[in-house]
Amino acid sequence: MTLDSTNAPLLRVSSVSKAYGDVVALDDVNIEIQQNEFFALLGPSGCGKTTLLRSIAGFEDPDAGAITILGAGSGAGEGEQIDLLSLPPNKRPVNLMFQSYALFPHMNVRKNIAYGLEREGLGKDEIAERVNEVLITTGLTDKADVRPAQLSGGQRQRVALARAIVKRPRLLLLDEPLSALDRKVRAEMQIELKRLQHEVGITFVVVTHDQEEAMSMADRIAVMHEGRVQQIADPVTLYSQPANVFVADFIGTGSLLRGIVANAVLLLRPESVHISADLAGAQLQGEVVETHFFGGSSTTSVRVAEMETLIVASHPGAPKFAVGERVGISWNADDAILLEDQP
């Protein structure tokens, strides 16, 4: 296989499988991650995303497959693919930010951050300089001499991040980086993470179960389910062209309709659904069962006879129909997404 070396992926996960007894955690996973990409592994809990992350970091051993990373080759793009699985975790050019942050409670912030550099055997001055630099980047300078126990959740998250990026890894893995934060801090940190990734120029791989988080931060997303990669694409493609029913259901909201097109499922996103009082000209007819008003916009849920799922429509302004009214439902053929029906 010949590959244009300038476009060679930074990380290549090839046919990786892993099972715990009868439980399949990873099933023939193939992913390629490009340099400087912000990549997300998205899926419900138990989908295998954390196992994959831990396999890359070296804390799990896949049963089969290969994981390679592009070496930091000196010549113009002459990096070779290094076999990660043959390296012990402490020798991998990959850093992991743990979900629990895993800060050393007996070391202050500065020592926590310096720990990885000390293991590289760098000189004292260089360590101090790089630690100070990253303390400034993450806004932790005034907390340098404090123990993790005295920090807030958001501050601890930043220490964990600083401790990982100070090593200047080629690849930074983040395990549910925002899950331990409350909602307000989470929104701030989302922007912060994106800014940092841009600033330090490190490839980020984020594991998350939160689709909004993944959609708002990542350049590309791999949606995983039951150990398998369902689709890898950028957020817009995932939303507008889901590869299958699972992705369609997991990403965004929408109504999955069976029985309209033979042997296929029709996906209607709420914004593509038009409801009107015109029953005759509509594709379907139904009865309004629920309306919600969100200030700027509303959703209207309609039950169509002999259809199990409600059809949800969203539109600007206040609800136009009352519960119980009969309405017509229509959509543009271009906006409807046809998916293969899965058992």
Binding site: N90, R92, F104, H106, G116, A149, Q150
Partner: protein
């Protein structure tokens, strides 16, 4: 009106709590005070008075008992005891720590079995466990005879009645008390911290000394205290396995109370053991606070995050 009702409500709740304390905890706390605290305080009081001719006490204040403890004979016994108890503690930790570590790595159901097997000997008769070593170490015993049979030694060697025998007996007696607290501290340790060290480039040995060992130090200290202090106060093992040649503080205290009938001096020696216990626990608490930062706040936060 409403203020007075809440106040009387609060008063009733307070009365209920006080009644609960008195009914449930009262008898036990009273019993402990009567049969532990007062007796131990009595030892403290006795240390400042003169000995009676046939045991007991003459109520004349003196500091002589304390001065006497600094006589070379007794200083010698004290330092000898510290050395033996210290050596015992080191051996118990060197054996106990890796064993505790190994137990944490067993599958869950085997962990319980392994722990019960550690505790089991501790709950059996202490004299009998010591006696077992008389049988083992005796010049006609299985160790000597198998060494002779194997041709390693030509004639039985004196294993029994040596300081080594005392140390073996003490390690045997108290090893379970090291393994339990060390096990608990390793079990509580967040494994992700070790993974984090490894991820940051630390080898397994390095991660052990940088993360595992310092964070399990409070448990190690507890284990060390549980071996060190009872070893100092043990008079049975030095007597039965040391043949009376190794005299420890425990023997001295026993002799002052039961043979020499010098209770005040025995009290001074006992206070030495208690003070060591208290000081070591204080050091343990300080270390434990240092390692966890401001422990309580962190714990509270962990809970809210979980």
């Amino acid at each position: 009106m409403s203020a007075s009702t809440t106040q009387s409500g609060r008063g009733a709740a307070r009365r209920r709590a006080l009644t609960g304390r008195a009914i449930f905890a009262g008898p036990g706390l009273l019993y402990i005070t009567l049969f532990m605290t007062i007796p131990v305080l009595l030892v403290l009081v006795y240390s400042f008075f003169q000995r009676g001719r046939f045991g007991g006490i003459v109520w004349e204040f003196t500091l002589e008992n304390y001065v006497r403890a600094f006589e070379p004979v007794y200083l010698n016994v004290l330092s000898n005891s510290l050395v033996i108890a210290g050596t015992t503690t080191v051996f118990a930790l060197v054996i106990g720590y890796p064993t505790a570590y190994a137990i944490t790595r067993l599958p869950k159901r085997w962990r319980t079995v392994a722990l019960v097997l550690v505790v089991l000997p501790f709950w059996t008769n202490f004299l009998i466990r010591t006696y077992a070593w008389i049988v083992l170490l005796n010049s006609e015993g299985p160790i000597n005879s198998s060494l002779v049979d194997a041709g390693i030694i030509s004639a039985p060697i004196g294993l029994l009645y040596t300081p080594g025998a005392v140390i073996v007996g003490l390690v045997y007696a108290y090893l379970p008390l090291v393994i339990l607290p060390v096990y608990a501290s390793i079990e509580r340790l967040d494994r992700q911290l070790i993974e984090a060290a490894s991820n940051l480039g630390a080898s397994r040995v390095r991660a052990f000394f940088d993360v595992t060992l310092p964070l399990t130090l409070p448990g190690v200290m507890i284990g060390a205290i549980f071996v060190f202090v009872p070893s100092l106060g043990n008079f049975v093992v030095p007597e039965l396995l040391g043949g009376g040649k190794t005299v420890m503080v425990g023997n001295l205290i026993r002799d002052q109370f039961l043979e020499a009938r010098d209770w005040p001096f025995g009290a001074v020696l006992a206070l030495f053991v208690i003070s060591l216990l208290v000081i070591l626990f204080a050091i343990q608490a300080a270390i434990s606070r240092r390692i966890n930062g401001t422990g309580k706040r962190y714990a509270a936060k962990q809970v809210t995050h979980a």
